[in-house]
């Protein structure tokens, strides 16, 4: 860490990071860097204190305890970051794709070297289990940088031979300086989804992490600050209204990318409309997971896989935009299927997030925890039946202050609020259907269209459902896979744009057409 950051003790004077499950886990790791009591913003390759000096406390949802202080940035800090990005963008945009790809690959290599450490920090900051950060979040993020390194190397412009003497050349050019506002459910992975294509495409970025989970991206920046040229990556922290708004509404940015919810999505579009710049938005969903009767035709590996597919609603504590939070089960197997599905859910181990056997951890924040409990409450009031869970979970020791909720299965119907709103918790609402047409009707009876799942042994049925569901992704006989090179994005109110695919480069590039005449004769018009 450069000299601009002055680690300082917590306001209560207690040493941080030295006791509890996190500290014990960190002792097992070989390659790591110190965490600081206070972080700066990462601007122009340097660690800069917020210009007005404000900070806020960052809380670990695993314990409810303060773990560090984060800049409470204001418009001046955002301006400084945009200045730094503008200073870097022209040179980075002209940098050869081979060099840009080398930088991305070097970032991936460094992340991989420190993977268990970054995973531990991510768990500390977000609350998700260490199993997940080690096996999913971080490996996927590493691969994402490598994927876009290769995409940009392989990207080609085009030429159209319009006639014997006239050629239309199409070049990809970076947009310049782009703004990114990312969510708290996969802090490093969502940063990777946005940073990798933007930086690969030759842009300089100003990114604002979510205020619940700002730590891990700052730790990552510290690890890669010697790799990424100064000003190409700038991180400004703070609250939406104080730092997010000046960033998203700045006339000096060329694009905004946002993941979050619909009202803020509209606000971001509104700011973008004033500046006439593009946006990409990912605003969540209420994803249906459809189980046809034939999954239970045999008691085999496939049936087991489908039952695991049902339990996927609990992955990441349900804090996934594509959480399969509506399960549609064909009536003829409902009893048999649910009996086994509930047993499967009740086996989910919610415990110390730093134990490798823990399957779900803490919700990311107190307000999220409260919101989920309020949804469980309205579900009960609406008359939905709790098949399992339906309550908070109190863990012991230093985890007793954490935000834990038991995996919950409701039985009800699609008009209930718990079937229509993304709860963003480990809660699934189950209903039944008779025919494929009815399944499709229920699946599409939602304002959103991000993810969905179809489980059947009948490939023709799977195909028809896959094409009929109005959602950007239809997982077919699988769920919650997020590989690079499979496009991810929403229909309907779930947003605009497709991430995790080379087509995302286009969302960070201009098209330059150079129209050339190689003819030497006048047209004869004048």
């Amino acid at each position: 860490m450069s000299a601009q950051v002055r680690p300082s003790s917590q306001s209560n004077g207690a040493p941080i990071h030295e006791s509890g499950s996190f500290a014990a886990h960190m002792k097992t790791l070989e390659r790591k860097i110190p965490l600081h009591a206070r972080y700066g913003n990462f601007i122009g390759g340097e660690w800069i204190a917020p210009l007005k000096g404000g900070y806020f406390d960052n809380i670990s949802p695993t314990t409810g305890q303060v773990i560090c202080q984060i800049p409470r940035s204001q418009a001046e800090d955002v301006e400084r970051a945009i200045d730094a990005a503008h200073a870097a963008a022209p040179k980075w945009g002209r940098t050869a794709v081979a060099e840009r790809a080398r930088v991305l690959n070097a970032v991936a290599d460094r992340m991989e070297q420190y993977l268990p450490f970054l995973a531990a920090v991510e768990t500390y900051d977000n609350g998700k289990p260490i199993r997940e950060t080690n096996l999913a979040d971080l490996p996927l993020a590493v691969d994402h940088f490598r994927y876009f390194a290769s995409c940009v190397r392989a990207q080609e412009g085009s030429l159209g031979e319009l006639d014997e003497d006239t050629v239309a050349y199409h070049y990809h050019e970076p947009l310049g300086v782009v703004a990114q506002i990312i969510p708290w459910n996969f802090p490093i992975l969502m940063a990777a989804w946005k940073l990798a294509p933007a930086i690969a495409a030759g842009n300089a970025v100003v990114i604002k992490p979510a205020e619940q989970t700002p730590l891990s991206l700052l730790v990552l920046a510290e690890l890669i600050q010697d790799i990424v040229p100064p000003g190409v990556l700038n991180i400004v922290n703070g609250f939406g209204v104080e730092a997010g708004k000046p960033l998203a509404s700045s006339p000096r940015i060329a694009k905004v990318a946002f993941t979050g919810e619909t009202t803020t999505g509209r606000l971001i579009m509104q700011y973008a409309s004033e500046n006439i710049i593009p946006v990409t938005l990912e605003l969540g969903g209420k994803s249906p997971n459809i189980f046809f009767a034939d999954v239970m035709r045999e008691d085999d590996d496939f049936a087991d896989k489908a039952l695991e597919g049902f339990a996927m609603f609990a992955l990441n504590q349900g804090e996934v935009c594509t959480c399969p939070s509506r399960a549609l089960v064909q009536k003829s197997i409902y009893e048999r299927f649910m009996e086994r599905a509930i047993k499967r859910v009740e086996k989910i181990r919610q415990a110390d997030p730093y134990e490798m056997t823990t399957q779900i951890g803490a919700q990311a924040s107190n307000d999220q925890y409260e919101k989920i409990l309020s949804y469980i409450d309205i579900g009960k009031k609406e008359g939905a039946k709790v098949l399992t869970g339906g309550v908070a979970n109190k863990l012991s020791g230093d985890l007793s202050g954490g935000f834990y909720i038991k995996p919950t299965v409701f039985e009800g119907h699609n008009k209930m609020r718990i079937f229509q709103e993304e709860i963003f918790g480990p809660v699934v609402s189950v209903t039944t259907f008779d025919t494929p047409d009815e399944a499709l009707e229920i699946a599409n009876d939602t304002l959103y269209g991000l993810g969905s799942g179809v489980w059947t042994r009948d490939i023709n049925l799977a195909y028809r459902l896959g094409r009929g569901i109005k959602a950007g992704r239809v997982w077919t006989n699988c769920y919650h896979a997020y590989p690079a090179h499979a496009a991810f994005g929403g229909y309907k109110k779930s947003g605009i744009g497709r991430e995790t695919h080379k087509m995302m480069l286009d969302h960070y590039q201009q098209t330059k057409n150079v129209l050339v005449s190689y003819g030497t004769k006048a047209l004869g018009f004048f």
């Binding site: 969510p183 205020e211 979050g260 919810e261 619909t262 009202t263 606000l267 509104q270 009031k381």
Partner: protein
């Protein structure tokens, strides 16, 4: 508009008064979607541009409460109490810097 649809807790009312002192006239728009969705977002009046898709569903502590009309159809069988909890969410809502977050608690409309 059903005058009783949206209520407000004492704690939320106090916070609204504090925000009015700080920011002047404010309003609410109920969000949907993921992350901090399904939660009331509080803005200065005029900051968030309302459109034909929005419906005014109530008033709390002298502030208009709006939401998307299609979303409202799916919430119409419930009534809501705007409450406040410790936290900050991740949104552009005005209360976040105070480490507080507005939250909806719901009950069923009388049949």
């Amino acid at each position: 508009m059903d005058a009783d649809r949206v209520g407000v807790s004492d704690a939320a009312r106090a916070l609204i008064e504090e925000l009015k002192t700080q920011h002047g006239p404010i309003m609410f728009h109920l969000s949907g979607g993921c992350c901090d969705g399904s939660a009331p977002m509080c803005f200065q009046v005029g900051e968030f541009k309302l459109g034909g898709v929005d419906e005014k569903v109530g008033e709390i502590a002298g502030c208009e409460f709006w939401m998307d009309r299609d979303q409202f159809k799916r919430w119409a069988h419930t009534r809501w109490l705007v409450d406040v909890v410790p936290g900050r969410g991740a949104s552009f809502s005005l209360e976040a810097p105070l480490n507080k977050r507005f939250l909806i608690r719901s009950s069923l409309c009388a049949m």
